[in-house]
Structure formats: C-alpha cells, structure tokens
Amino acid sequence: MMLGYELDLALRSFRRNKVLTLLMVLAIALGIGAAMTTLTVYTILAADPLPGRSDRLYIVHLDPYEAADYVPGEEPTDQLTRYDAEALLREKRADRQALMTGGFVAIQPEQSSLQPFRTEARFTSADFFAMFGTPFASGGGWSAADDEARARVAVISQALARKLFGAADAIGRVVRMGGADFRIVGVMAPWRPVPHFYDLYFGKYAEAENVFVPFSTSRDLKLERMGTLNCWGRQRSKDLTSLEASCVWMQYWVQLDSADKVAAYRRYLDDYSAQQKAAGRYERPPNTRLYDVMQYLRVQEVVPEDVRLQVWLAFGFLGVCLLNTVGLLLAKCLRRSPEIGVRRALGASRRRIFLQFLVEAGVIGLAGGALGLVVTLLGLWGVRHNGEAFASLASLDLAMLGTNFAIALAASLAAGLLPAWRACEVTPALQLKSQ
C-alpha cells in the first residue's frame, strides 16, 4: 500500500503542532510504560515453573484434622503429617513421588579461610530430582536405598560447590554439615523454578535450595527445619516433628502420567483416608485433593495481590492516556476540516482521508511505543531495586518487547479510529464555502 504521501502529511501536521504531538507521544509512552512494566512483572510471577512437566505433577492434600470444626467441602490443609507422608512414600502408588520439607544446614568448610555458614536446604526423597527434572552439572540424585539407609549423601548447588571446592569436581568429596560428614553425589546446575512451587511456605519466590539431603538422614541428625507447622488436637508430643505428632509440616508431590492414573490415585487417597479413619487416626470423612502445579498455584493465590492490583491500575492509566489522545486527535482533525475539504474537492477518496488520520495516529503510537519501551526499562529497573524476593527476575524478553509495540500500535490506532472516521465525514462543499 502506498502510505508515503500519508506519512508525509502526518509529519507536516506534527511539525505544525510540535508541542501537542509531543504531549500525545509522551502520554502514550507513559501509559504503555506503566502497563508493560506491570504486565511483565505479572507474567513472570504467574508463569509456569516447569513448562512441559507441570501438568503431570500433583501435590497431595489429605485432611487429618479434628472433626469438631469440619465444614464439608472445605479445602484441606496443603501439608501432610510426617506419618502420612512416609506412609504414602512406602506404598509408592504414583509413577514418581517425593516427600519434602525445607530447612537449614550449617556448613563447616574444610579450609580455615571460610567461616562456618548457614544455607537453605531441602530434606526430600530420591525421586525429587527425576520428577522435577532438575539439571545436573555432574553426578545425580541419590537412590531409594539411600533414603532407607539414612545415607549421608547430598546434592549441592553449583554455586555452593564453587564456594567450597573451587573449580575442582565436587563429586565424591566430603562436606561437613550439621556436625556430620556428607558425601556429595550430585552438583545441580543453576535451577530456579519460578514460583518456588514445591514449597510455598519456604518463600513463594525463594531461590532453589543450595543443599539437598535425604529426609530420613535429616531426622537422624535433627537438622533445623523451616516452614509452617500446624498442630491440632488434645494430644501433644514432646517433639512436634516426630512420627506420631499431630502436626502438618511436609509437602508431598507425585507424578502421574495419564488421566487414568490420576483418577486411580484419587481413589487411592480416598481409600487411604477411609482406612485411617477406620483405624481411628483420622476423624473426618475422606477430604482429599490432587492439584497439578498450575491449579495449586492458583488455589494458593501465589501472585501477590499488589502485583495484580498494579496491572489493573496501569491499564486504567493507559485508558486515561488513550482517552486523552482520542480527544486531542479529534480536536486537531476537526480543526483541519478546511484542509480535508480541499483534499476531498481535489479528488481524495474518503478512504484516503481515513487513512491519512489513521497513519497519523499510528505514527504517534509507534513513537509512543518506542519511548514507552524506555519507560518500561526504567520501570523494570525500579522493580529490580525494590528488594523483593522476585526483584532480580524482572527483565524484558523478546515476547514482551513485541507485546509492547503491539499494544502501543493497537492502542493508538484504536484511538485514531474515531477522529479518522469524523474526518472522512467532512462535507467538502460546506468547508470550501466557509473558506
């Protein structure tokens, strides 16, 4: 399409009203910048932590609480007792399964130049790595036999391996943690699922832990756990993390590869609950849930309220900026009625007039989009420096860059529609007469 002439006309019109054009571009840029900044943050925070895998991974909820305050149909707690987690793990009814909890370990480095320090740890079982597809720089996870043997084996992050052993291969080396010697069997390549879906109590956007050790071993050594622990009932144990304690504090994930298996597993959980009730351990009727990763994140409302509120606010602001642009474009084009009259009298079709004003709006939109990109980058820079757990994740990718320009162009073309339509409605005869 020949838009050269329209472009030329648009540029002439901008030159005649420099300040006004600049204002329109600035308004669109601010609106786009605000909308894109918030949308980028939202997209990152609401993302699928394990694309391609997450629809086969399910978190198990059971309901071991007292009957007294039971409301039928209410959501059961999303953590398990240690008893239930270990029982489900023993029965191994899913394609893969892992129990887990978060915690800390204190590490005493061999070299005297490094002070003892504490780092985040995950106490879990063998399938964790294969189930979540964690990448390994070298070595691998431990086996179910290690879990049973309470083996002192550990998987550590590459960052921790470098800190402790420099460039040398860490596999087979020994690291002293929690006062015991652990043999390193795997070094995990950088891995950060966002959100930290497998244990939201450890921080919804926490980084993956630096140390992974068998849960059984962690109980042997009484390693420090961390997360939410809820207890109930009239019995109280000396140790709230013991097998018989009425406290929930563990996460339990399973991998189920087909819909049939999911259905079968649901039945299994209900049967398990019924058995526990029959045995007198549970008081409530079976009240189980099996959520896949994205369902779980939705139910738990992981994306911070503020972030969602910010998206609405920014798009509201963009709306005001657009209304502003429509108003100004309209006023501007109505004032140019005489000019339109002349063009129409000289043979320009309505289509060409329409096009002329749409091109003008489009150019403003593109300029606004380009400047809006700068505003977005500034905005994201601001987000990165606000100190949130997810702050470091805020950056623009190519898809968002495209979205940026698409929104800018679509918005300004939409803003240009009404003025352009009004422009081509101009009656040439009337305008020429009033000259």
């Binding site: 050594l221 969602r308 309209l330 606000n386």
Partner: protein, 403 residues
C-alpha cells in the same frame, strides 16, 4: 453566568465534550481509590511496634549441630552480653516485631471451641523483657518472679502445655472481651486455662498484622537455642554494641553461626518495604494521571479557543468584557468537570466493590470522594485558565478582520 449558550455550544461538540467528561470520570474513579490505597498503606507502614524500636539490637544464633547443653549456654551468653559496654539491658525472646517468623496459636474462650476467637502471636519472654523492650503495661501487673518457668518444662513434656498466667495486648483484650475488664478472665490456648493478669499497650507481632494483630505474652523463658537476643542501648551506639556483642558471643563458642543481626529500625524497614514501594508507586500514578488529564484539558480548550475565535470576537465587539470571556471558558470547564466527577464517583464506588471482592480492602470511606472531586475541579480550573486568558486577550478588531 448564563449556562445556556455554553450548553448549546457544547452540543455542537458532543464527541469531544463526551471524551473529556469520560477522561475526567476515569481519572476521578482511579484517583479516589488510589488515594484511599495510599492512606491504607501509610497506616500499615506506621503500625506501632510497642517496643523502643530505635534503641534495640537483635542477634540470633544457630547451632552447627544439635546439642544438649543449651540452657547453660544461654545463661552464659546472656551474662556475656550484659557485660558488653553500652548495653543497658538484655532479654531473650522467641520472635521480634515485624521479624516475619512467628509462633502463633489460637486463643479460645472455652476449652473445646471449634473455631478460635483469634489467632495471636505467642511470646516466650524472660524476666528482663519489659525493662529491655520498653513494652508498656497499661493494666494489671507484670509476671511475678516465681511465675517464670523454663520453656522446655512447659512445652516439651509430652503433655498439653500449662501456662497459668498470661499478659495480652490491648487489641487482643478488646477482641476477646469487648467492653469488659479482661483482668482475671480465663482464656484457653492449648485447651488448658490461662488467666489474664495484665494488659500491655501494644506489641506488634512478627507477621499477619492486618488480619490478626494480636499478641499474648507467656512467662516461659527460652531454654532452646533459636531465640533472639534483644539488647537495649543508646540509638547512636547500636552498631558498636552489635559488633562487640557478636564478637563476645562467637569468641565464647565457635560451634555456631550468626543467623541474624541488626537493629529493629531495619527490621521494620524490610518488613514494610513492599507497602512503602506500593504507596510511592500509587502516588506516582496519581501525579501522572493528573498531569495527563490536565494536558488533555489544556489541549482541548486551546483548540476550542482557536475554533471559536470568531465567536469570541463578535462577543467582544458586542461589549463582552475580558473577564466575561474568561468566565465563559471557566464555567464551561466547570460543567464538563462536574459531569465527569459525577460519573467518576459512581465509577470509584464500582471499582471499590470489585476490589473489595478480590482483595483484602475495606469499603471506600466517603471522605475520599470529595477529595477526588475537589482535586479535579481545581485541576480543571487551573488547566483551562491559560487557554481562557489567551481567548480573552484576543483583540476584537483583529478577530473580526479574520472574517
């Protein structure tokens, strides 16, 4: 001022006028809610802690491996800390205000209540707590010396914990026993009775401040290693005291690591960082909204002035004063803005209803509506002043010649 000619002019510019009304309406709707949100955040950020925040240092240690001699070590550590120069008083507690990690429990009025009356942060305090933190007792008495017991003797027995006496915060007392004297009343935390012997003014819990801003103090001094040492000192000496204290603790025993150290001002700052950032962001959006809307009004009014040059000339030639021309545009703007404000207030209430349904926010107090309205009226009048003055400055003769 005659309104009819203005209305008849506006009727000829329906679309542009409607757009302006709409812009003002959306701005007004967002503005009212945003200002309300800002006020809400400011209230959160300034939540009182109840402790002498500027004079406190916190230190938390972690063991490298689990050990059995905790009680003796804690007694020695406290003694070491009391000897650090500049330290006025030292206490060991299980959590700090705004510290994020908390021990909580349901507080009930009967032993077998299905749903708790409230959830409170449970504070394990020692004999030096009040003197160190500066928490103010407003009714009743502090714990007596013989009421303090070791944490493990209360909570690690395998039996339901028995805490015969507790002190509650004023907020908790009002929630538990509205309009009554809480002193001497009994509450149940672990299905066992506890008598309220005192009420403190305030003690902000480490988290969950919005939903459950309640605290219960228990005379159960910590004998396990995960507590926070709180050191009271002069504000200016906090850093020096912290460094000396950590040094003293670590020199005495290297089989541990420092988990946290800092002053309570920083703890508050970290806890409320997101709220503060959100308040600033909202304020920035408000300013940007007002600027954009003002520019829109200036732009549109300027065009109208240009478009009506002839009309203005005729009016001036027929004897209208400059002041009357200015007032014409001001009245026009007032009418448009008012229409926008009416729509905007309806919009503000609608947005508030939606926000209330999805977020933890109270109903928009009516006071924010006039705030938004006045802001926009002022903004409109200011924005239109420039173009109106320019219109009034047009010399009638020159304008007439244009015809």
């Amino acid at each position: 001022m005659e309104v009819r000619p203005i209305l008849s002019t506006l009727r000829r510019h329906k679309t542009a006028a409607a757009l302006m009304v709409l812009e003002i309406a959306v701005t007004c709707a967002i503005l009212c809610n945003a200002v309300f949100l800002i006020a809400d955040r400011i209230e959160r950020v300034t939540f009182p802690s109840g402790v002498a925040e500027h004079e406190l240092v916190q230190i938390q240690l972690g063991n490298i491996a689990s050990r059995d001699d905790e009680k003796a070590r804690i007694a020695r550590d406290l003694e070491l800390l009391r000897r650090v120069p500049g330290v006025k008083s030292v206490a060991l507690i299980n959590q700090v205000p705004f510290g994020n990690l908390s021990r909580g429990g349901g507080v009930n009025l009967t032993p077998d209540q299905p749903k708790s009356t409230l959830n409170a942060a449970l504070w394990d305090i020692d004999e030096r707590f009040f003197e160190t933190t500066g928490v103010r007792l407003v009714a009743g008495r502090p714990f007596a010396a013989d009421e303090y017991r070791d944490f493990n003797d209360v909570f690690a027995t395998g039996e339901m914990p028995q805490v015969p006496v507790v002190i509650v915060t004023r907020r908790a007392a009002e929630k538990l026993f509205p309009g009554q004297d809480p002193l001497g009343k009994t509450v149940y935390i672990w299905t066992t009775p506890s008598r309220i012997v005192g009420v403190v003014d305030e003690l902000a819990r480490p988290n969950n401040l919005v939903r459950q801003p309640y605290s219960v103090l228990m005379p159960t001094r910590l004998t396990v290693g995960s507590g926070y040492f709180l050191l009271r000192t002069e504000a200016a000496q906090r850093d020096a005291v912290r460094i000396a204290a950590v040094d003293a603790l670590m020199s005495a025993d290297r089989e541990r690591v420092v988990v946290r150290q800092g002053n309570l001002d920083d703890v508050r700052k970290t806890y409320f960082r997101q709220d503060a950032a959100m308040a600033w962001l909202l304020a920035a959006v408000c300013v940007a909204l007002l600027v954009v809307t003002a520019l829109g009004i200036v732009g549109l009014a300027s065009f109208w002035v240009q478009q009506r040059t002839a009309t203005i000339g005729i009016r001036r030639a027929l004897g209208a004063t400059r002041a009357q021309i200015v007032r014409y545009f001001q009245t026009e703007n007032f009418l448009l803005t008012s229409a926008g404000i009416v729509l905007g207030i309806a919009g503000a209430l609608a947005i508030n209803l939606v926000v209330m349904a999805h977020y933890e926010l109270p109903r928009l107090p009516w006071i924010y509506l006039p705030i938004g309205a006045v802001a926009l009226w002022l903004l409109g009048q200011l924005a239109v002043l420039g173009p109106a003055l320019r219109a009034a400055a047009l010399p009638p003769a020159a304008v007439m010649r244009l015809r």
